[in-house]
């Protein structure tokens, strides 16, 4: 044996004379393996029983139904779907609808939450009280009731199709939804998409460059303004250069309802409104807590260096507050996603309504359908959580 330092030498000396059986690491491993084996055994036992009992009761099982024709229609389909599509398509439609309302809901809830959270700390009495009122009312009423309220409100405030509101020419608002002109791309319209993408990439590049330059030389560059200008102007320029290759198909009142156009369902509006306003109330409190967690000394130090209040908030307070805000914010994002399953109460075709509702009933395969639905929510939540953890590590205090 080569000479070793005293710290590890002591440890190695322990192991030398005794049997592997008394090595705590080996023992730990053995017991963990035993636990895992027992767990697997229990799962297998239940799975086997469930399978044989389903067979004995004459209940169909397996995932074969996925490739069968669905035979029902869905009111909001972002992926191509007709009643001739398979159950798997129907599953995808539900999944995309859930992801849509969750992602837009998260964006809106974050924006409102930050505004209200900062307003809670405002020096202005009225703003402060209004923000508090918002938080206290919205977070203390059950979400399901709020959803029913918004749905009822949306339906009763809006007129019937024949008396539609027309806030902007070609845009109609009634209790069948918000009807927008449909954008139909002509040949060449693909270029506009590329223009938008390259403008975004360009804006990001400019921002990186400006930041680097500022760190190196201290010179500032209005990267935000230039970025926005780029994102707006480049696609517009492409639009005109390619000879305006986009048609708008306006909706027309035909019979009962508007035909043509893109429809945003009232169910979607109510669900989005309910979810984002409710979650925003929690986010507001998290933001407030995060800002209060930054010691006032930091602000005073910034002021004494002559940094203006807005820049202080932007450069000193918020970056430090983010460290406190991100972990609970992640929980709120997960909550919002999971709460979107309440859509079933107001008829929004999310994955629970479409898949764990109609599909479950038409196929009768409750066990498979519910397990898949649970796995979907688990996957969405773990992905969100992984992304937020990555972001958290980025904003976490880096010691230099």
């Amino acid at each position: 044996m080569t000479p070793v330092s005293s710290a590890t030498g002591e440890h190695a000396g322990d192991e030398a004379g005794t049997s592997w059986f008394y090595n705590p690491r080996v023992r730990g491993m053995i017991f963990q393996l035993l636990v895992v084996a027992a767990l697997l055994g229990v799962v297998a036992f239940f799975a086997y029983n469930a399978k044989t009992n389903l067979e004995r009761a004459g209940i169909a099982s397996g995932l074969g139904f996925f490739s069968e024709r669905a035979g029902f229609d869905i009111s909001q389909t972002l992926v191509p779907y007709t009643n001739d599509s398979t159950y798997f398509r129907a599953f995808l439609v539900g999944l995309v609808n859930t992801l849509l309302v969750a992602s837009i809901g998260i964006l809106i809830a974050t924006v409102i939450g930050f505004i209200v959270g900062v307003a809670r700390l405002s020096k202005n009495f009225v703003i402060r009280q209004l923000a508090q009122l918002y938080v206290e009312i919205l977070r203390n009423v059950p979400l399901l009731l709020q959803l029913l309220f918004w749905y009822k409100a949306v339906l009763s405030v809006l007129p019937s199709p024949r008396q539609s509101l027309e806030p902007v020419s070609g845009v109609f608002l009634n209790n069948r939804g918000l009807i927008l002109p449909e954008v139909i791309g002509q040949p060449g319209s693909g270029l506009i998409g590329y223009a938008i993408l390259s403008a975004i990439a360009g804006a990001y590049g400019i921002w990186r460059w400006a930041r680097k330059r500022q760190l190196a030389t201290g010179k500032q560059f209005p990267s935000l303004l230039v970025g926005i200008a780029l994102i707006v102007l480049l696609p517009l320029l492409t639009f005109f250069v390619t000879g305006m290759p986009v048609d708008l198909s306006y909706a027309e009142l035909k019979g009962f309802n508007f035909a043509g156009g893109t429809v945003v369902n009232p169910e979607f509006m109510a669900l989005l409104l309910g979810l984002s306003l409710y979650t925003a109330a929690f986010i507001a409190e998290i933001v407030r807590a995060g800002i209060l967690a930054v010691s006032h000394g930091q602000t005073e130090a910034a002021f004494s260096l002559g940094i203006r209040p807005r820049r202080t908030l932007q450069l000193v307070v918020i970056p430090q507050a983010m460290r406190v805000i991100i972990p609970p914010l992640t929980s709120q994002y997960l909550n919002l996603t999971k709460n979107s399953s309440l859509a079933v109460a107001i008829g929004y075709p999310d994955i629970v309504a479409v898949f764990a509702g109609t599909v479950l009933n038409q196929t009768g395969q409750a066990v498979e359908v519910i397990i898949i639905t649970m796995l979907v929510y688990l996957t969405i939540s773990l992905s969100t959580s992984a992304f937020m953890n990555w972001y958290n590590r980025r904003v976490a205090l880096v010691e230099r």
Binding site: G58, F72, S75, N175, G347, A366
Partner: protein, 338 residues
């Protein structure tokens, strides 16, 4: 949330019971002292609590008839209100002993769910209801309409087929609970409400202004509604099946709740067999021989049950139509007791 609970219960029941309770449902029911019956959450005329909080309706009476046959007591039954989505799981898990919840008899349901339909207590068909103000007289004029419908029903599929077959477009608005569909239609979210025609008449009564709505003449599907039991318990299947047959036979033979006692003295051999004066028909389904007397005495024959709950003299005012006896031009027909 009941749905989740039921599914978990199903999983648990299937996972745990290595020796599946192969089920003498009748023995279980007798031991419990009451029948657990899955019913609608509230559909007037079929299953809904009345002013006094008692469950009434055609489906409810079908359950009461089974209870009467077993216990000689139509009150020995407890009702579990179920949504369309929950109903089959509730029966599969054993949460209810029998499901009588205006459930359409289809091949898929009969063959892949581990369930058996025991008969038809109401022949129905799917219809459409619209506002009178729309000036629509036929379902063929409904192209482009928004249609309110309940999830997990044959209705949802028939609707698709009908609009497709007639080359019309529509927008489905799908809800889980009947109350939610009603509220959405009442709030003018949809132009059209579709479900079984009997249901439309019942639902119309619950709307804000029943007079403003009209049920269109088209019936677009066959909806034979009937009681359902679990597969694998033939004794129980026979009992529920023959309870309904006894009621239809009683109507055909002119036996009513009012005259059942004096009919026991009848010379008609068919009546004698029905009422247990002759033969041991009750024993063959595990009951006493006066089983049919109990049903008729407490609940009445099929015609009485129909008229009391949905017939012309009730708020629903439904004519017998196809639900008349076969001898009167309808479809209600029961095999003979002999």
């Amino acid at each position: 949330m009941t749905k989740k609970f039921l599914t978990i219960a199903l999983g648990a029941a299937l996972g745990l019971s290595a020796t599946a309770a192969s089920a003498a449902t009748l023995d279980d029911v007798k031991a419990k002292g009451f029948l657990q019956c899955g019913s609608n959450t509230g559909l007037a005329g079929f299953a809904a609590p009345n002013d006094a909080g008692e469950w009434t309706g055609l489906d409810v009476d079908t359950c009461r008839a089974v209870a009467a046959a077993i216990f000689d007591d139509p009150e020995a039954v407890k009702f579990t209100p179920l949504t369309a989505k929950e109903r089959f799981t509730a029966l599969q898990t054993g949460e209810v002993d029998v499901l009588v919840r205006n459930t359409t008899w289809t091949m898929t349901r009969d063959t892949t769910l581990g369930l058996n339909f025991t008969g038809v207590n109401y022949y129905d068909g799917q219809g459409f209801m619209v506002r009178k103000s729309l000036d629509v007289t036929s379902a063929l004029e409904l192209s482009g309409a928004s249609v309110c419908v309940q999830t997990g029903t044959t209705t949802e599929l028939n609707l698709t087929d009908y609009f497709k077959a007639n080359g019309m477009e529509y927008q489905p608005v799908v809800f889980e609970k009947l109350e939610e569909v009603n509220a959405a239609y009442d709030a003018n979210r949809c132009d059209v409400y579709t479900t079984d025609a009997s249901g439309l008449y019942s639902i119309r009564l619950q709307l804000t202004n029943p007079g403003d709505h009209v049920v269109l003449p088209e019936i677009i599907s066959k909806e034979p509604l009937g009681p359902v039991v679990r597969q694998g318990d033939d004794q129980w299947f026979n009992l529920v099946k023959w309870t309904l047959f006894a009621m239809v036979n009683a109507e055909e033979l002119g036996v009513t709740s009012a005259n059942v006692e004096e009919m026991k003295g009848s010379d008609n051999p068919s009546i004698k067999r029905l009422l247990g004066v002759d033969g041991k028909f009750g024993e063959s389904i595990g009951l006493s021989n006066d089983w049919a007397v109990r049903i008729i005495k407490h609940v009445g024959n099929y015609g009485e049950m129909f008229n009391k709950n949905v017939g012309p003299d009730t708020p629903l005012g439904i004519e017998r139509g196809v639900n008349a006896l076969w001898s009167k031009g309808g479809l209600q027909y029961a095999p003979p007791i002999r």
